[in-house]
């Protein structure tokens, strides 16, 4: 599942999850937000909820052959 929103909302969600996860070692953050067709998406962490729209998957990125 993914959350769909603005870049700022996705960045804030990433910061929210990251701050709660106590990462150490190599790991520094939860997820990278991706932009597809003007919308931003970030993968959902089921332990952290957001008011952003929830979607099953990101739209398929056009493949460069």
């Amino acid at each position: 599942m993914y959350y769909k929103g603005t870049q700022a909302e996705c960045d804030a969600y990433n910061a929210f999850v990251t701050s709660g996860q106590n990462y150490s070692g190599t790991t520094t953050q939860w997820a990278d937000p991706y932009e597809v067709d003007g919308f931003w998406y970030i993968i959902k962490n089921s332990n952290y909820l957001s008011e952003m729209e929830e979607v099953e998957a990101m739209p398929i990125v056009n493949e460069e052959l």
Binding site: Q21, N22, Y23, S24, G25, T26, T27, T28, Q29, W30, A31, D32, Y34, I43, N45, V61, E63, E64, L65
Partner: protein, 283 residues
């Protein structure tokens, strides 16, 4: 008693392994070394088995899902220490945050983003692909990234989904790829935005060998030469990541081992392929 060199797989005196046997001053048998002992000077070398006797580091760094703690996992003998791995991860999942470079160059493959880390333990069980411990990439966002190198020769054991224009060896900042072509029925090397297609084995556990001999590149799958060999590729083959082209075109599947050389390994190709196949039993 007659004993031919090919009959000898191990010699022990007491509990000590014998590495060389001489008849007078003639070396008549030598214990086979690890892959990088016999074929050294790789640019980078990632594997779940030990590749070099002198290597004293770990194989991987693993993050466990239960509390996000990370721990290095090394070897028992020359194999991944799966007992320590399972003991550390427990009943949850284990993700690879770092695949250590065994070449000596220190060019480890990293993933600092939790959701992009590939899996090695799932619900308390080590990931196995065709009987071999493997790293599993989800084809959604997983990848590992290393400092860019220019390769001349590469040997990789992969089992990735046949996916148009994607591959197991990739670059985050350009479309370079070694993997699959436009029709899903060919192997592909893409360099500098140009596609070079090769016939070859598709899908399943496959030992890939790609060798650049003075700008002429040959592709082998399970030691079988592509009928398209060689193809002239004038541009440098630069790569810096595994399993995710341009950071947004991932591929799902398994990796066990990938070794990149900055030199032409044509004369060692079959021996290196045999070393990989002997260990993993692929073909």
């Amino acid at each position: 008693m007659k004993l031919a060199a090919n009959d000898v797989s191990a010699v022990k005196i007491g509990s000590t392994d014998v590495n060389k046997v001489y008849l007078g001053s003639n070396l008549v048998w030598e214990k086979a070394g690890l892959l990088l002992d016999d074929y050294p000077n790789a640019s980078v070398a990632y594997s779940l088995r030990k590749l070099r006797t002198a290597y004293t580091g770990s194989a991987i760094k693993v993050r466990r899902s239960s509390d996000n703690t990370e721990q290095d996992i090394g070897f028992v003998g020359n194999e991944l220490d799966t007992s320590s791995l399972l003991s550390f991860v427990g009943a949850g999942d284990g993700f690879v945050s770092k695949w250590y470079d065994q070449s000596g160059a220190g060019n480890d493959a990293l993933q600092s983003t939790a959701s992009n880390q590939p899996l090695i333990v799932s619900s308390g069980s080590v990931i196995l692909n065709e009987g071999n411990t493997s790293i599993s990439f989800d084809g959604v966002d997983d990848s590992l990234v290393f400092t860019q190198i220019t390769l001349i020769s590469v040997f990789a054991l992969e089992d990735v989904l046949v996916s148009v224009g994607r591959g197991f060896l990739t670059n985050t900042s350009n479309s370079n790829v070694i993997g699959y072509g436009a029709t899903s029925s060919v192997r592909r090397i893409r360099v500098n935005n140009i596609n070079y297609e090769f016939s070859g084995l598709l899908g399943g556990n496959t030992v890939n060998s790609v060798i650049n001999t003075g700008g002429n590149v040959s592709y082998y799958t399970n030691s079988l030469a592509s009928s398209d060999n060689p193809r002239a590729i004038p541009s440098a083959m630069n790569f810096n990541s595994l399993m995710n082209r341009q950071g947004s075109l991932p591929i799902s599947g398994f990796l066990n081992e990938i070794i990149l050389y900055p030199s032409d390994q044509s004369s060692n190709r079959v021996a290196i392929e045999n070393n990989i196949n002997t260990h993993y039993t692929i073909y």
